[in-house]
Structure formats: structure tokens, C-alpha cells
């Protein structure tokens, strides 16, 4: 019985110090090793959150959660999302109708939408020919004739405002391992674009071209070339210095490399093909949405595992940040206020111009890349403070709130450690560490577009609500 005590007496003392820093100095002064935690009261010290955490840590409950979470991260890591095609939303997205507008984040009504989302909605209605102009579109949006629904509730994700209408072309990403499918829109490249809230003629014109040329050409190319293994491309892009959320230069080249031969074989004119290649070259972001659909396909496979405390969705609509949790399944959203995004701005804009955090793109971090993989993207450390060491620190810190490392997607800088995978609601609350999200900044007003990029965090409230619901469901 006392073996462990005897072995303590025979070992070098190596102390974990929790709570009082002065003991650190005393112990170190006596020549023993000591590690002092950066300790904060778990659950922010809120009794009801502590009670929920305690309930989730009762050994029998914790054992069940442990098994469920192991299954969830296995499903995330083993998912093999393949890009299988492109198609119009009305043709491929479940539940899509000609008058449905999908949007980013948790459910929201027109009257509560943020500026960027309103701008995107009105632009989309004009693009679809449902309204003659933006004013008419706003009236239509308010009339109740338009069905607004979260992308996430239709197997989709939408970058930034996430506004997706019937005739927009979607990526079709099939999860080879688990059979589910995810969808997302095409990149509009540039800064003055619909998803960022811009909606002038140039924006609509581009959408029309994407519908009539880019989308159909991509669709035909996929029919010629066959499926593309997106997880493989993602992991290569990570090895090439992308974190695949805010930096996509390598990923875009890899995707282009995969698609180019088939694009050339399509029946479009050489001029049209050149337009498409020019369009792809106009912004590194071209593959950005592709990785979102990849992540969505994997995360949906891990959703709905009874007892799991793993976060399967983090999404924002510009007003609220919503989280979904595997063990609570379905479309149960846990929300809190969307936060500010802090980071460098385009010339001419100030922080007060920024809209709040928006977009489904946090599916990147939910899967484990983006902000979670900062260590692999030294080129963009300016986003997180400026030094490579800080970037590595971000990834390591995310290890404290996740469940496993994904062996299929690794980071050379960290000796090929897998990306931190499976955000655990319990760990977020126990540590007080919130997930870090790399993201773009849209202007707070409709019609302007992207004005910067930076990092943000979810509101802790979303996790608190989820923990309480988990505790209720598991006792």
C-alpha cells in the first residue's frame, strides 16, 4: 500500500504548486524542482458551473464521457473527406428552397442580424432575382417570405456572413469513412465581397460569373478528374506553412494542382479557362472554403455521440456565438455574445469600424487547424502578437483544452505532433482557456466588406450553458 509513499521518499521531490506563488520561491530555494500553475478558479468560480463540472467528473460519469470522447476524436481523425463535386445549392443542399437563405452561426432573425449579414442577404436576394434592388431586398427580407436558416443545420458551413442562396455553387465533400456529406460556397476572393457584407454591382456581377462560369467549370472538372482527398491536401498545406484558415497560399496551390488538368479538359473556352485561373490567382483564399467543408464533413461524423463533451460546432452570426456539442446532438445551440476580433486592419480602417466575430469558419479550429495550428504558420505570426514562439505557444495551449492529437494532420515545428483535436467543454471551463480562432474582420456596416484580420475567442457563456446541459443529460 505504501509503495508510492516509499518511492516518494526515494525520489527527487518534483512539486506542482497551485495557488500561492510564494511557495514556488521557497521550494526552489531549497533546490527542489517546482512548477507553479497559472491557476484560476475553474468555471470562473461560479458555483453552478463548478457543480456541473463536478457532476461530469463523478468517476462513473467521467468513464462514460471518456469512452464517448475517445470515439468522437477517433471519428474526427479517421474521417476521410473527399471533394467529389460541385453543384448548385438548390440541387445539392438538403432542405434548400428558392426562397431559403442560409447564414452563418446559430439561428437569427432578420431584424437582429449584423450589418455584414444584412448586406449579404440583400445582395443575395438581388443576385437571385428575388428583388430588383437592395431596398426591395431589405423589404423582402423583413416580409417573412424568406426562410432564414443556419448553414450548419443543412450540412453546410458558410464563411463570414455565410449567406448561401439557391443558385450559388457549392463544394460537395463526401466523408468516405462515415458516409456523410458537407457543403460550402465558393470563395469570392478579394475584400469587397458578399460574404463580408458588400453588395454593390461588382459583387453581384462576380456572383453571376461564378454561377455561370466558375461553378459549372469546377463541376465539369470534378466529373472528369474524380474525387480529391482533402485531408491529404490539408496536411500537406500545413507542412507548407498554412494554418488553412487565415493563410491558404500553399493549400490553394495544392488544390489548383489537383484541379488544373481537369479544368483544362472541360468544354469551356480558353478565355473562360484563363478567367478561372486568373480568378484563382487573384487571392490565396481560393481554397479557404474547401477546408471548411472538409472539417465540417469530419465534425458532423463526430456529432451525436451520447455522453461526449466534445465540441462539434463553433459558429458565429455576428451577434451571437453558438456552440454545439456531440453528446447533446441535433441542433441544440449554446450561445453567448459574439466577441470583438483583435488584429491588424487594412489601411484607412480603425478598430471601431469592426463588426463582431462572424462566420462558420471556426469549424477550422473545431477540427484543429486555423488558430489551433498557429505553430505551423510562422509567416502569419503578426496575427497573434508577432513572434514565432508565441504562435507555438498558442498551439501548445490548445493542447490543454483538447482530447487528442490528430495523427493524420501534423505539425513539423512540433516534431510532427498531431493538431490538437476534440475541444472538451469540461477542459475549457476547468482551465479558463478559451479556444483561439483566427478570422477575418468584416466592417460593421452593410455594403463595405473585409477590413482586417485577427484572432478572437468564443464567449465563455456558450461553454457554461453547454456544461450545464451536459450535466443534466448525464446524471
Amino acid at each position: 500500500m505504501s509503495n508510492r509513499i516509499t518511492s516518494l521518499f526515494e525520489s527527487d521531490l518534483d512539486v506542482v504548486n497551485v495557488g500561492l506563488a510564494m511557495f514556488d520561491e521557497d521550494i526552489a530555494a531549497q533546490g527542489a524542482k517546482v512548477t507553479t500553475l497559472d491557476w484560476t478558479p475553474p468555471g470562473g468560480g461560479k458555483p453552478e458551473i463548478l457543480a456541473a463540472l463536478d457532476a461530469l467528473e463523478v468517476p462513473e460519469v467521467a468513464a462514460r464521457i471518456g469512452e464517448a470522447n475517445a470515439l468522437a476524436v477517433e471519428r474526427i481523425a479517421d474521417s476521410q473527406p473527399m471533394l467529389t463535386g460541385f453543384g448548385r445549392a438548390i440541387d445539392v443542399v438538403p432542405g434548400m428552397t428558392p426562397t431559403t437563405i442560409l447564414h452563418a452561426g446559430p439561428p437569427i432573425t432578420w431584424d437582429r442580424m449584423a450589418g455584414a449579414m444584412k448586406g449579404a442577404v440583400t445582395g443575395a436576394l438581388v443576385f437571385e432575382g428575388l428583388a430588383a434592388d437592395l431596398e426591395g431586398a431589405a423589404a423582402l427580407a423583413a416580409s417573412g417570405e424568406i426562410t432564414f436558416s443556419p448553414c450548419h443545420e443543412h450540412d453546410c458551413v458558410g464563411s463570414m456572413a455565410g449567406v448561401t442562396s439557391a443558385s450559388m455553387y457549392m463544394h460537395i465533400v463526401h466523408n468516405e469513412t462515415y458516409g456523410n456529406t458537407a457543403y460550402t460556397n465558393l470563395s469570392e476572393q478579394m475584400a469587397k465581397i458578399l460574404r463580408m457584407g458588400a453588395n454593390d454591382e461588382s459583387v453581384i456581377e462576380r456572383l453571376v460569373w461564378m454561377r455561370d462560369v466558375l461553378g459549372p467549370m469546377l463541376k465539369e472538372a470534378m466529373e472528369i478528374g474524380g474525387p480529391v482527398d482533402l485531408r491529404l491536401l490539408l496536411s500537406q498545406a500545413l507542412h507548407m506553412g498554412d494554418e488553412c484558415h487565415n493563410r491558404n497560399i500553399a493549400g490553394t496551390l495544392l488544390l489548383l494542382q489537383a484541379l488544373a488538368p481537369s479544368l483544362l479538359q472541360t468544354g469551356f473556352t480558353t478565355e473562360q479557362k484563363k478567367e478561372v485561373f486568373d480568378f484563382i490567382a487573384s487571392s490565396d483564399y481560393f481554397s479557404g472554403p474547401t477546408w471548411l467543408a472538409m472539417a465540417k464533413a469530419a465534425m458532423d461524423a463526430a456529432h451525436g455521440i451520447e455522453g461526449s463533451t466534445i465540441v462539434t460546432t463553433m459558429a458565429r452570426n455576428g451577434v451571437e456565438f453558438g456552440v454545439r456539442v456531440s453528446g447533446l446532438g441535433g441542433n441544440q445551440w449554446f450561445t453567448g455574445p459574439a466577441q470583438k476580433v483583435v488584429g491588424p486592419m487594412f489601411a484607412g480602417y480603425k478598430p471601431e469600424d469592426s463588426g463582431l466575430d462572424i462566420g462558420d469558419s471556426a469549424i477550422s479550429e473545431t477540427y484543429g487547424f486555423g488558430g489551433f495550428a498557429m505553430a505551423t504558420a510562422p509567416a502569419i505570426v503578426a496575427l497573434v502578437g508577432g513572434t514565432v514562439q508565441e504562435a507555438i505557444g498558442f498551439t501548445r495551449q490548445m493542447g490543454e483544452i483538447t482530447t487528442a492529437q490528430n495523427p493524420n494532420v501534423t505539425i513539423p515545428m512540433l516534431d510532427f505532433q498531431g493538431i490538437p483535436t476534440g475541444i472538451d467543454v469540461r477542459k475549457v471551463l476547468a482551465t479558463g482557456i478559451l479556444p483561439v480562432i483566427n478570422t477575418a474582420i468584416a466592417h460593421k456596416e452593410a455594403g463595405i466588406g473585409m477590413i482586417g484580420a485577427g484572432i478572437t475567442h468564443p464567449p465563455v457563456e456558450a461553454f457554461e450553458k453547454a456544461a450545464k446541459a451536459l450535466a443534466d443529460s448525464l446524471i
Binding site: M1, S2, I5, L8, F9, S11, D12, L13, D14, V15, V16, N17, V18, G19, L20, M22, F23, D26, Q30, G31, A32, K33, T35, L37, D38, W39, T40, P41, G45, P47, L50, D54, E57, M190, N246, R247, G343, P344, M345, F346, A347, G348, K350, A379, I380, A382, G386, T387, V388, Q389, E390, I392, R396, G399, E400, K427, T431, I433, G452, A453
Partner: protein
């Protein structure tokens, strides 16, 4: 409008860095607006929209850097450009560390498999949870926190026992493990005396006395103040005895506790028979008969406990000097007739207990916040009456403030109050040195001592102040310096906790019969 544009040919910065630089440039005091970007068509388009596109800028190519600044009134263009240039200089990284500070015990333990003990000193409301985490990660625990519910303590100790781990504390946060003093502890030389103590300052006192006798400590396990209560049942003291029984480096075991629950005392004493080593038992107010019957060595006080342990396990010739009563005779003559009472103001609970029991043995009434007799129990707010002995480290006094070994303010105020009471003959105080304690406990008390003596002198009384300095010659500050400072202030200095009690009792007797 003062706008300056510069094109730096063949100078590449990535777009994210440039956004960061632009943001910083725009926040400079001298700058009204700044634009730092590569000379791409898109960026030139933006400048064109702003009406800033000069022919020079128009000629810039994809690999050229454009710097365009609009200075504020009064700021020179060159000066502003120079500031922006500074931002373009890459600075060497200032931070060399990619390691992170862990937030949780689990993460720290998983990152460092060699970790073997957690010191936990968080608010009692969170303590149980952290202890559980530590135990689950196979760490021994010293729980320094107080205000931990006893039910929680029992559950945690049962878990520790099951796993074969130590769960020391809560309350009485002290331990010496592998010659490292943890929380409140003294620099004691390594040796072969194993101490298991359900009392913090009691453990410190015994270890310091062992050191003073030339011996040393193998390990000191502070079990927490409630370990020998009915509820907890001595789980850790029993595990501690067994660990020492198995430890080849320990030649003799000392048990220290405030008065234990009788049933638990019996259980603990039953362990002596199988220990295979001499066991010295100092339970404040305990019975000799029970200890001897169990095969243990009964100690009448902390000094005696140390002495017997050293004699049994280290040096049979160890000895201590008896109390010098001459000082008592001297000062007794100085008191007025109404000065009949002694007041004890202690930081250390067991030191208070030991002196209080010495007083009780003389048959006197003693009031205290740690009195077992409810009729003579005081609270933090009660005025002193008769012989009053207060433990300022008790929860009643510490609620919401640091331990008096760190924050002496309450005790200092009380000392001045006692000086005003015409019935008070003497005030007895302890000064605890060592790790975790105040860096100069005597120094911080001297002004109050002077003030107290002054108040008494003004009223024509002699106020005897008796002080005991707990510490070893290896501690900082050195006890010799602390003692010298007390003596210089006219304080009578005792040489152990036991002697402090003996002195108080002898003085009380003397003034009663005077």
C-alpha cells in the same frame, strides 16, 4: 494636406505583416493616415480611390513596397516617414520560450511525469476538486487551504489511501519531504527522526527542537489538523506511521497532535505495536497510561517529544536545560496586586494549546477561542477575561485574511489592547520563523511592544512580555538576531514552546499567591 509617398524598390513584405505595420503606423501620434502595402494592382486601385495615386506610385510593381503617409498638422513628413521606417525594421524576438504555463494539475502532471507532489493553496471552495485531480494523476498532496468541508477531507483521504498516496492537510500546512520544507516549515537538518503531526506549528516546534538537540528529521508528514477527529479517523497518521515503519532512513517515529478523538487515539496507538521502531507520542493533554499500554513512549510536551525521540533513535545522552525561575521571582515583585492574569497571543495553534494546557494543569481557569470547554470559549470579537490564550491562526480569526504568521496586524492591535487592561501581568507571544512565514516577525511587532510597554508604564504598571522565537539556526532571519531584538526591547525570551507554557504557568502561580 501633407502627403508623402515613397516607393521602396524590390522590398517584399507579406500582406499580414504589412497590415500589422499599417495598423501600428496609423496609431502613431504624428500620423493622420498611413498606407503601407506592396505595389499590386489591387493596392494601387485602393490608393486611386483615395486620390493618393501619384505617378511614382503608379509605376510601382508587385515586388515594390509603397509607403504613403499623411502627417498631422505640425509633424514633418521626413520625421513621420522615419517613424514608419522604424516599424519596417524587423526586431529580433524578445521571447525565447515556447513553453506554456500550465493551467491545470492534469496538464502539468502529464507534461512532467517526474512530478510527484502537489502543493495546493487555493480557496477552500475549490480545493477539493484540485486535490482530486492531483490524486487522480498519482501525485501526493499537501493541501494548505483551510475551510475545506470535513466530508470532503474524508473522501479525499480515502481516495489517497486507496491509491497509496499521501494527502497532507488541510489546515496546518506543513511538511518536510526529502529535506525540502513545504509551506510553513523550518530549515531542519536531515536525520532519522520521522514526524507525523496533525498540527502545523506543533510539527514545526518538534522539528526545530530535534534540530536544536543536534539530530535531524527523515520526513515530516503534516496530516492536517482534523486527521485525528472522529470523522476523519486518523487515515493519514496511520498511513504515515506505516510508511515510516517501512522506511529504512527512519529510526524513530514521533506522533504529534492536538487532543485527538478517543476512538481515533486508540486506533492510532494500535499501530505502534507493528511499527517495529520506537514511537514517541505527544498528544496535547493526552494520557500517559494509554500510550504506555500501547507500547509507545509518552511525551508530556513538544520539547519532551523531541528529546525522547532523539534519545531513542539518535543520541541517548541528549538533554535540555530546565526552566530558569529566577526571572519569574524578579518580575513578580514589580506587579501591582490587581495584575493577576496572563494573556497569550499566539500565531501557532499548537503553541497556544501547549501553553494553555500548562496553565490548566495548574488548576486555573483559562479562556480561549480553542477551549474545549464551551463555557470558557471566546470568539474573535470577545474581550479577554482572566487568563486568556488566543490562537490567531484559528479560522475564527483568519476568515478572509492571511494567517497571522504572514499578516500580524490583528495580533499587534490585540497586544496594545491587553496593555490597557490593569489586570494583566504578562503577555506571552510566539514568533514563528521559516519558510512561508513573515520575513521579520519580531521587527514588525517591536513598535507594538514598545507602545504596549509605554501604556502600562504610564499607568504605573510593569507589563511583562514573554516571547518565544521558533526557528533553527539555518532559518532566515536568524533566530539569534530576532532574540537579540526582543531582549533589547525588554522582552523575556523563552527557549521552547514547552518552556513558554512552563513560564506562563509559573508566573500565573506566583502572582496568584503574591
Amino acid at each position: 494636406m501633407s502627403i508623402t509617398a515613397v516607393v521602396k524598390k524590390n522590398t517584399y513584405f507579406d500582406s499580414v505583416s504589412l497590415m500589422a505595420i499599417s495598423t501600428k503606423a496609423n496609431s502613431l501620434d504624428e500620423v493622420k493616415q498611413a498606407f503601407v502595402a506592396m505595389g499590386t494592382e489591387m493596392n494601387k486601385g485602393v490608393l486611386g480611390n483615395l486620390g493618393l495615386l501619384t505617378p511614382e506610385l503608379e509605376a510601382a510593381g508587385n515586388g515594390d513596397l509603397m509607403v504613403v503617409v499623411e502627417a498631422r498638422e505640425g509633424a514633418g513628413a521626413d520625421e513621420v516617414l522615419a517613424r514608419v521606417e522604424e516599424l519596417l525594421q524587423r526586431k529580433a524576438s524578445a521571447t525565447g520560450e515556447a513553453t506554456i504555463t500550465h493551467r491545470t494539475i492534469a496538464a502539468a502532471a502529464q507534461d512532467n511525469p517526474a512530478a510527484n507532489l502537489a502543493v495546493i493553496a487555493v480557496n477552500g471552495a475549490y480545493a477539493g476538486r484540485e486535490v482530486r485531480k492531483a490524486l487522480e494523476n498519482d501525485l501526493h498532496v499537501l493541501l494548505f487551504s483551510d475551510n475545506v468541508p470535513v466530508e470532503e477531507e474524508v473522501a479525499l483521504k480515502e481516495l489517497a489511501h486507496e491509491k497509496g498516496l499521501l494527502m497532507m492537510g488541510p489546515d496546518c500546512g506543513t511538511a518536510i519531504i526529502n529535506n525540502v520544507a513545504l509551506c510553513f516549515g523550518n530549515a531542519v537538518r536531515p536525520g532519522s527522526v520521522g514526524v507525523v503531526a496533525a498540527s502545523g506549528t506543533g510539527a514545526q516546534e518538534v522539528s526545530v527542537r530535534i534540530h536544536a538537540l543536534g539530530a535531524g528529521v527523515s520526513q515530516l508528514i503534516g496530516t492536517g489538523g482534523r486527521d485525528l477527529s472522529e470523522q476523519v479517523g486518523g487515515i493519514m497518521m496511520i498511513d504515515g506511521i506505516r510508511a515510516f515503519a517501512a522506511d529504512p532512513a527512519t529510526s524513530v517515529i514521533v506522533l504529534v497532535s492536538k487532543p485527538p478523538a478517543p476512538s481515533v487515539e486508540k486506533k492510532v496507538l494500535a499501530e505502534i505495536a507493528t511499527a517495529g521502531k520506537p514511537v514517541v507520542v505527544y498528544f496535547v493533554g493526552g494520557s500517559e497510561e494509554a500510550v504506555v499500554a500501547a507500547g509507545g513512549h509518552f511525551a508530556s510536551g513538544s520539547q519532551d517529544a523531541a528529546l525522547q525521540a532523539v534519545r531513542l533513535g539518535v543520541n541517548p545522552d541528549a538533554a535540555v536545560e530546565p526552566l530558569d525561575t529566577r526571572r519569574i521571582d524578579e518580575v513578580a515583585a514589580l506587579f501591582k496586586p490587581e495584575q493577576r492574569f496572563v494573556r497569550g497571543l499566539f500565531c501557532g495553534g499548537t503553541l497556544c494549546d501547549e501553553s494553555m494546557y500548562a496553565m490548566l494543569e495548574s488548576g486555573d481557569d483559562v479562556w480561549s477561542n480553542i477551549q474545549k470547554d464551551p463555557g470558557r470559549r471566546l470568539t474573535a470579537d470577545s474581550p479577554s477575561t482572566g487568563h486568556t490564550f488566543l490562537d490567531f491562526g484559528d479560522d475564527d480569526f483568519t476568515n478572509g485574511r492571511p494567517h497571522p504568521m504572514i499578516d500580524p496586524s490583528l495580533r499587534l492591535a490585540r497586544l496594545v489592547e491587553e496593555a490597557k487592561d490593569p489586570e494583566v501581568a504578562a503577555v506571552v507571544m510566539d514568533f514563528v520563523l521559516g519558510f512561508g512565514a513573515h520575513e521579520d516577525p519580531v521587527g514588525v511587532t517591536l513598535p507594538a511592544i514598545e507602545q504596549a510597554k509605554g501604556i502600562a508604564a504610564e499607568a504605573g504598571r510593569h507589563l511583562e512580555i514573554v516571547g518565544y522565537v521558533l526557528g533553527t539556526d539555518l532559518d532566515t532571519p536568524a533566530p539569534a538576531d530576532q532574540i537579540a531584538a526582543l531582549q533589547a526591547a525588554g522582552v523575556t525570551v523563552t527557549r521552547s514552546s514547552t518552556e513558554t507554557g512552563q513560564f506562563a504557568r509559573a508566573l500565573a502561580r506566583k502572582v496568584k499567591h503574591a
